[in-house]
Symmetry: C2
Subunit: 238 residues, 2 copies
């Protein structure tokens, strides 16, 4: 792989799937016009994944049962493996993982603090909602990277997430205590705003902000639709 | 694999490498005479591994640098993968992971509390020392399991541990702050007692306790020698 880290820090120009001002209707909206340079993409994606892992590992430590610990363990395993693969990708591209992540830690740590739930159940919803949304988001954003990196990163995210495991834990908790439902639905609604902010901060805008917004909006509409399906799977209204 | 879980809870008799009263000199001492039945082995080993993972994930959350977080992430990944493989082995043998671990959680949770360090450095020494010792121990103990299970479990532990990564983090910390050395050496000495207790509690003794002790002792001598090498690798006296 080319050394993307030794380049001067300018916008990496990638082949566009379509011209910027061509208002053609596409069936699948995408973010490729807003993809940041590879080091920035990897630094953010790797540190977000480390944060997802830390949230999952806290959910394991404070789990009410051994069954919950061991099943959430599967989600944590998938997440730390993704983080490691993204860190390996940084090395592959000629960078150092810690240095590459460093610039993005402040905002992502703050996001982590904002999305800290009041109890174990809220924290598990945080793991479920934020990981689901952000993995979705980074997969779409990766499509705008140089082809080889885009392929690698697509395969890293294709290893799956612990979403199913978390949905099962949460559904069981809600079934056992139906009063949790409205509180967790409300918590899910609050999370989506903070999560969208973190996603948006990864986008590189052009000079034409108004046109940018028009292009970005349909992608977020799709990401929110996926969020709604995730909440539905718990029997909760998004 | 046979369903070891549906059997009546009696001692699983495994082929002995040597007769119990044969005082022959062997070059490699072993624990096969004291191996518990498969479900008990797996329940303990899987829950110990989950505890090792939880300690590592706490070390990640409280790490002083992003570099430490991401490098300890590799140790955590190896550990949670081992836990999951042991849990899969429980399912393979006809059991349920949580139920199989449950009987051993009290003592292992207490061990975890006893070995909780006063700060990040002590906690990292706990990860390094207890995981090193207990992985060594369970590998030896597994040799006494039924052949197929013994093979599977040997391959699970053969995937390696994060020992090297932890040694590097600790060595760097001690180099940066030499005053840590004596405190961490003392902490390592304290840990080894608690760790040996947890290991011993996994052994199934025969009726002849005196003869048992004579057979077990050389194994612990070897395990302690490995511990000493681990402390040496940090430049610390065991």
């Amino acid at each position: 792989m080319a050394n993307w880290f030794s380049r001067t820090p300018r916008r990496v120009e990638v082949p566009r799937l379509r011209a910027r001002n061509e208002n053609q209707v596409t069936t699948k909206v995408d973010l490729v016009e807003f993809t940041p340079p590879l080091p920035e993409f990897l630094g953010r994606a790797a540190y977000v994944q480390l944060t997802i892992f830390e949230n999952l590992s806290r959910a394991i430590s404070s789990a009410p049962t051994v069954a919950a610990k061991t099943s959430i363990g599967r989600a944590a395993e998938l997440s730390i493996t993704k983080h490691r693969a993204l860190a390996d990708e940084i090395v592959e591209a000629g960078g150092a993982p810690a240095e590459t992540m460093e610039p993005f830690t402040g905002a992502i740590d703050e996001f982590e603090r904002m999305t800290h739930g009041g109890d174990w159940y809220e924290n598990l919803v945080t793991c479920y909602v934020t990981a689901g949304f952000l993995d979705d988001f980074f997969v779409r954003l990766a499509a705008g990277l140089p082809a080889e990196a885009a392929r690698h990163i697509a395969s890293i995210y294709a290893t799956g997430s612990g979403e199913q495991v978390l949905a099962e834990e949460l559904s069981a908790a809600i079934a056992a205590n139906p009063r949790l439902a409205s509180r967790l639905a409300m918590w899910g609604r609050r999370l989506v705003g903070d999560t969208m902010l973190v996603a948006r901060s990864a986008l590189h805008y052009t000079e034409d902000h108004k046109s940018d917004e028009a292009r970005i909006e349909p992608v977020f509409t799709e990401l929110i639709a996926a969020h709604t399906r995730r909440m539905d799977a718990l029997g909760l209204t998004a």
